[in-house]
Symmetry: C2
Subunit: 188 residues, 2 copies
Amino acid sequence: MPIDTKSDILNAAEHMARSTGFDGFSYADLADSVGIRKASIHYHYPTKGDLSLALIGRYRQVFLDRLAQITARDTSAAARLLAYLDLYRDALDGGRSLCLCVALSVTQGALPEATRADLARFHRDVAQWLETVFRLALSDGSIRAVADPKAAAQAALAQVEGALIMARAATDHTRFEAAIDTLRARAI
Amino acid sequence: MPIDTKSDILNAAEHMARSTGFDGFSYADLADSVGIRKASIHYHYPTKGDLSLALIGRYRQVFLDRLAQITARDTSAAARLLAYLDLYRDALDGGRSLCLCVALSVTQGALPEATRADLARFHRDVAQWLETVFRLALSDGSIRAVADPKAAAQAALAQVEGALIMARAATDHTRFEAAIDTLRARAI
DNA sequence: GTCTATACCTAGATAGAC
DNA sequence: GTCTATCTAGGTATAGAC
C-alpha cells in the first residue's frame, strides 16, 4: 500500500500523546514507530510545536464531528449524554489512554500559543455542546436534577476529565466508570 | 536564621511541582531557587525519585491532617464538604497551581513504584473520607441528592480534580468555581 | 522525501576536594 | 554539607548528500 506518511506520523503521535503524554515521546520514538528517520519527521513537522498544532486540529475536527453525529442521531437529552460518555469510554483503552484534549491540557512543556488557543476553543465548544444537551433536558425531562444547564455542563466536563485522569493514574478503566456513574444514573 | 535545607528543598520542589509539574523542573531550577548547587540537592535527595517520595509523603500527612481537623470542627456533612472544597480552592493560587496529588498523577515521567503506591493510597484515603461525609449526609440530610455514598465520593473527587485541571489549563481560577458549583449547591 | 551526520543543549547523576 | 568538575544519555533541530 502506498501510504500517507504525514498521517502515519500523526496517528503514531496521537497514540503516544494519549498514552504517555505529549512530553512523553520524542521524535526518535516517532521515527521508530513509523519506520523512518528522525530527520524525515522533521521534514513533515519541523518542530514539535507544529506537530502539536496538527494534532489538536485534526482531533478537534473529528471530535466535533462525532458530537454532530450524536445530535443528528439521538433526539433525547439522555441518549445524547450517554453517547457522549461512550466517546470517552472508548478513548480510555482500558485505562491506558486519555483523550487528547486532557493529554495536552496536562502537558507541562510549553505548547505554542496557537495550540493553546485551539485547545481552549475545543474545550469551549464541547462545553457549549453539553450545555445544549442539558438545556434540552430541561424541556424533555430525560436527565434528572438539572438546574442551570451551563453549570451542569461545566460540572459534567470536569467530572469526565477527572475520571479519565483517575482511571489512568490507576491504570484501571473501572475507575472511570465508577467516577462517572452518578452522571449516567441521571439519564432516564 | 539557621535553616533546614532539606525542608527548603522540599518547599521549593512542591511549589514547582504544583505550578509546572513534577517533570517541569530540574535539579538546576531547584538549586537556583534554594540558593545552593545541584550537587548539594543530590546530597539530600540522591535521585528525583527519592524527592518525589518525600514530597508525596509530607503532602499526604499534611492533607489527611487537615481532613481530620475538618471532621473534628464541622459536624454537618454539608459543612465538611464545603470545607473540603475550600482546601482545593486555596491550593489553586489563582489558577496557577494544582494540588500535588493531581500534579503527580499527571506526571508522565516514570515515578518509582513506592511513590505510585503512596499516591494511590492518598487517593484512596481521600475517597474514603469523602464517602463518610456523604454517608453522614444520608442521615443528617444536609447534602442534596445523595443516593450511593461511595459513588457520590468518586464523582465528587473526579469533579474536583477535573475542575482543577480545567482551571489550570485556562489559568483562570473562576473556572474552578464554575465547574464545582453544582457540588457546592447541593450543600444545604 | 528520505537519508547520514552532527551540532547544541539540558537533564540526571557521580567523584572527589574542601 | 557544600562545592567544582565532569560524565552520560537523551532530546530538539539543522545541513547537506542522495
